[in-house]
């Protein structure tokens, strides 16, 4: 004797509004993922059968991708810690981006090196550094490298060396 609810049961993968093909964000095997979206929320992420790399399988981290996206402790607003402050304060995104741009320009001016001691051109700043990239997209890394190089900020590194 089953209840109506039981008789109506269906998988939320079947009722999703759309399924989007993606790639696992954790390690470099590059397992295929299917992202199921319902009401503009990610309701399930599972392996993509079609992927010849992973054939639908995922490791525990890949299987936890939905929780990565919908993590209970995920931060979704900008936080700012002023010099010597004891705690965070909120800041709107516009202001924060603008402040970072100002600081970028200022640090670049402060620490610009035109030439080395032998007079050879350096055209760079050693006052700005960047770290990251191994979890980013190629397109993102490309823009970062392009911007940093054009700005003369050469100290850009990522996990590949860590």
């Amino acid at each position: 004797m089953t209840s109506q609810k039981t008789r109506d049961i269906t998988a939320r993968t079947s009722t999703a509004d759309r399924v989007v093909q993606s790639v696992c964000p954790y390690c470099a095997v590059g397992c295929g993922q299917r992202v199921f979206v319902k009401d503009e929320k990610v309701v399930q992420i599972e392996g993509d059968y079609d992927s010849p790399i992973s054939r639908g399988r995922l490791c525990p981290k890949g299987s936890a991708s939905e929780q990565l996206v919908n993590a209970p402790s995920r931060q979704m607003s900008v936080l700012y810690r002023a010099p010597y402050a004891k705690d965070w304060q909120h800041l709107d995104l516009e202001t924060a981006t603008d402040m970072v741009a100002d600081r970028f320009i200022e640090a670049r001016r402060n620490t610009w090196e035109d030439t080395d001691e032998q007079g050879r051109a350096l055209r760079r700043t050693m006052g700005i550094a960047g770290l990251g990239g191994a979890t980013l997209d190629n397109e993102e890394n490309y823009l970062i490298k392009k911007l940093f190089t054009a700005a003369g900020a050469v100290q850009l590194e990522n996990q590949a060396r860590i």
Partner: protein
């Protein structure tokens, strides 16, 4: 890998770190392949391997060298392959001296600089009749120390013609040098240095040699267990030599597979966020490369063979992509807009500079250096010297919060109210909230489509950095300062979607490149062979050219795997030119026939007069076997029909590296920076060219036999667990993963537990010369004490995922606090896989007493910044000098 007959997993815990990749190993094993796991610990990989061989951390080159010796001395090498496709027959110049002659040093060592002059390693030049040069100018140049990959994916330029002896009998052939170099790497030496019993060595040696040759192939897989050493790059070289000798490169089920830890870590070296590289492994300009011509001369030799000879086209196309119309022939294609490097500016050097207050601002995106980088304390202290810090992540990782809850706050070394660093935490978008491509470990680009919009303030890096660039450019729009010209002239106008997000496909199209002039102006390039050095093409990363051929995003190709053959070339796009196995010309013999039916992959089709097979041939498609190039030909045209290694400047697989590696043409065993064992092979204890940082805050433990080495008698080795991701930023905040591995622990053998009175699942404190951490104790037979050189070496396993903070679901002490900073000279990667420590029962002290504990042990061992940091330890350090004078 599924095609391999024997798989050696060494320096990687593949089943734990790449479970899904491991399915191919499991499949191979189910088909009867032998799987051998060489690792200090018995891990989940060992549990499903055919055999586990425990090894002392940091002694892998002895094992691999002994396997080379086994193959050579038992005459088990694949003769046709080696003669045809490697540089075995090439004769090395007479000035070369091996480590056998100089007790652990090669010729050319300069004790003043701690570096090699590479000139004596060169091949014998036909025309000169003696040691060819071409290396000397590199060798003497300090900034070439930056990295081996300075020279792109294919190694440095080689000029001239070299003497060969196909009988291999000339004593200075690479083959004979190799034989002699590894002659003392015997099974007994393996036992002595690695703690591997002779029977186990025999097992491995038989397994790989019986499973190599025409009919069978053996595959090696490694990960950071090999790279995280002061001789890391040479670990991989050793395996490469072995694989070349066995004929296992460029063939199905062969090769050396790098197992990388991050979704796009391959991509982030292809399109590098690295100080020393430009996209496509073009080197970053150095101070002495004042003009584009000088730059290009350094990058490639126009007389060399292969595809690197076109580096001028790749470089100009890159400059055109970045500076568009401002890149003209007259302006040297805007070469002068490029900043120059004049030394290693790696992340560890940057941290040292932070400590010296020379760095104002630091962007950290998707990384957690406070936990994940070696010597966590230096990282955090470094950040406390910054003016501003931008952290972009999903969660409040320790790198964002060290100023209020880091370990240094607890010890009193830092006070929140005294830290002047401004910290911006900017939330990032997850992989489903943005579109873009990842490049996985086998060079395959796969596009991710956007599923949902990022919530709240979350932004993709693409959006953030595009926006940042826009603002910087706007603020500098009116500047007349020459130094701002590169920013003003930068091409920075990507189409936006309805949410003002830059279109990632447009960026991919720029990376792919397009024709700028002629009838095809504006159409995407379909291959890097179309790139020109005359400004008629643009392209941001030549090796990725073709991914956007015909205006189609091939990274997004998704023909289901089940509808395709085993190579599945219509899923994603792999560089270069969608090839799945590099150098696959080597899967066929000299005549272009497959070495065997069982292992056929790419072959010469006599009727169609072209290369064909399961994969895209990694070779000029119509270059017939047996073709002999013109003497004067250069570049691709200079390739012979039997030069499968098309990216190497001589088209051969390199057993011996005359240029490109700064710490030796052949891999040689050196002990780690910290080791309880004396180098059993040479008087030279450690890699003489390793990069050291002798500082009060970066002390090293004394090596075996020196004063105080008994204070830190145990070896620790670090690793990852399946359930977590590196420094935990993407796993310790997830309850489902945190509950599976909730607490920091250490793994010790029952013998060590008994020796130190450690209680199972009780607490222990592990003390290194840098810091002390606490961990729960897992007493297990999976860690075995090894008999090395007559005494017992205890190893302690430490997973490095945890960190001290308040925001994560689970936290714990960070292993990287124990690790010091000493780097591999080729690639500037730190030695975090092995170090010296001691262990005591119980929890560690809190607050300032922690510092007291650490300094107690330091003074007991008599540590000074010089300890362990002498580069030369050989019996006769002058001999290196002497050789140099002979030159």
């Amino acid at each position: 890998m599924a095609n391999a007959d024997c798989i050696v997993i060494q320096g990687s815990n593949m089943a734990e770190c790449h479970p899904v990749g491991y399915q191919w190993v499991a499949e191979a094993k189910a088909r009867g392949a032998k799987v051998i796991h060489v690792d200090p610990r018995f891990t989940r990989t060992s549990a499903v391997a055919s055999k586990h061989v425990p090894i002392r951390a940091g002694s892998d080159i002895v094992l691999l060298g002994a396997l080379i010796n086994y193959v050579l001395s038992k005459d088990l090498w694949f003769k046709d392959y080696v003669l045809a496709y490697t540089n075995a027959a090439t004769v090395v110049g007479e000035d070369f001296r091996d480590t056998e002659d100089l007790d652990g040093l090669f010729s050319g060592y300069d004790p003043e600089t701690g570096q090699y002059d590479l000139s004596s390693w060169a091949y014998e030049d036909k025309s000169a009749g003696k040691g060819g040069d071409g290396g000397s100018e590199h060798g003497s140049d300090t900034s070439s120390r930056a990295a081996g990959d300075q020279y792109g994916s294919g190694g440095p330029a080689m000029d001239g013609e070299f003497v060969q002896d196909l009988t291999l009998e000339h004593p200075r052939t690479v083959f004979q040098i190799l034989k002699r170099h590894y002659s003392r790497y015997t099974p007994e030496m393996v036992h002595e240095a690695c703690g591997i019993p002779v029977e186990d060595f025999d097992y491995v040696a038989r397994a790989i040699t019986e499973n190599s040759g025409r009919e069978r192939t053996t595959c090696f897989a490694y990960a950071v267990g090999w790279t995280h050493h002061t001789v890391g790059a040479q670990y991989i070289r050793t395996a490469a030599i072995l694989q070349l000798l066995l004929g296992n490169v460029g063939r199905p089920g062969g090769g050396i597979m790098a197992l990388r830890g991050h979704a796009s870590i391959q991509g982030s070296t292809d399109i590098p966020t690295l100080f020393n590289l430009l996209p496509g492994y073009l080197p970053m300009p150095k101070a002495e490369m004042g003009s584009l011509d000088e730059y290009l001369k350094e990058v490639f030799s126009p007389d060399g063979k292969g595809f690197w000879a076109n580096a001028d086209a790749y470089t100009v196309s890159l400059l055109k992509a970045w500076w568009g119309d401002a890149a003209t022939e007259d302006s040297e294609w805007a070469y002068q807009y490029m900043p120059r490097i004049n030394g290693p500016h790696g992340t560890y050097q940057t941290v040292m500079r932070m400590l010296d207050d020379e760095v104002e601002g630091y962007f950290v995106f998707g990384q957690n250096p406070a936990i994940g980088s070696a010597h966590g304390k230096l990282q955090r202290l470094g950040m406390s010297h910054l003016k501003w810090l931008v952290v972009r992540d999903f969660n409040l990782i320790e790198t964002a919060t060290w100023w209020k809850d880091g370990p240094e706050i607890a010890t009193g070394e830092l006070k929140t109210e005294d830290i002047g660093t401004e910290v911006f935490f900017l939330p990032g978008a997850t992989h489903v909230e943005k579109a873009g491509s990842f490049t996985q470990t086998q060079r395959l680009l796969q596009w991710r489509h956007q599923a949902v919009r990022p919530p709240g303030d979350c932004q993709s890096e693409l959006k953030f950095f595009f926006e940042l660039g826009k603002r910087i450019r706007a603020k500098l729009a009116d500047s007349t300062d020459e130094r701002d010209r590169p920013l003003q002239d930068l091409t920075w106008d990507y189409p936006l979607d309805e949410h003002d997000e830059p279109d990632p496909e447009a960026v991919l199209a720029e990376i792919n490149g397009c024709h700028l002039t002629g009838p095809e102006a504006g159409t995407p390039l379909s291959s890097y062979t179309q790139m020109r050095a005359d400004g008629s093409t643009a392209g941001g990363c030549w090796i990725y050219t073709g991914v956007y051929a015909d205006g189609v995003n091939h990274a997004a190709d998704r023909r289901p795997g089940q509808e395709q053959g085993p190579v599945a070339s219509e899923w994603g796009w792999s560089w270069p030119a969608n090839r799945r196995i590099l150098y696959n010309r080597a899967s066929a013999d000299l005549e272009g026939k497959p070495w065997s039916e069982r292992k056929k992959y790419v072959w010469w089709d006599e009727e169609q007069k072209r290369w064909t097979g399961d994969d895209v041939p990694d070779f000029p498609v119509d270059l017939a076997p047996g073709t002999v190039p013109d003497r004067d030909a250069r570049g691709v045209a200079a390739l012979a029909g039997d030069d499968p290694f098309i990216m190497q400047s001589d088209g051969k697989g390199w057993l011996y590296v005359p240029k490109g590696m700064v710490d030796g043409p052949l891999p040689t065993h050196y002990e780690p920076q910290e080791s309880p064992v004396s180098n059993p092979l040479y008087g030279q204890q450690q890699n003489p060219t390793r990069v050291v940082f002798p500082r009060e805050d970066n002390l090293s433990a004394p090596s075996a036999g020196t004063r105080g080495s008994d204070v830190y008698p145990y070896v620790f080795t670090t690793y990852r667990l399946t359930e977590h991701h590196t420094a935990g930023g993407m796993s310790r905040w997830l309850p489902y993963l945190s509950e599976l591995q909730p607490e920091m622990f250490c793994e010790v053998s029952p013998e060590l537990a008994a020796e130190r009175g450690l209680e199972p699942y009780g607490w222990a404190t592990i003390i290194s010369p840098r810091s002390a951490i606490e961990a729960k104790v897992l007493v297990t037979d999976r860690v075995k004490p090894l008999k090395v050189g007559g005494h017992t070496v205890h190893q302690i396993g430490l997973p490095y995922h945890w960190g001290v903070g308040q925001d994560a679901v689970v936290s714990g002490d960070a292993v990287n606090d124990l690790v010091g900073v000493t780097l591999d000279p080729n690639v500037q990667i730190q030695e975090s896989k092995v170090g010296s420590c001691t262990i005591v029962p119980g929890r560690r002290p809190q607050g300032a007493e922690l510092l007291t504990l650490v300094s107690d042990y330091q003074s007991r061992a008599g540590l000074t910044p010089e300890t362990g940091n002498q580069k030369l330890t050989g019996s006769d350090p002058v001999s290196g000098e002497g050789t140099k004078e002979e030159n």
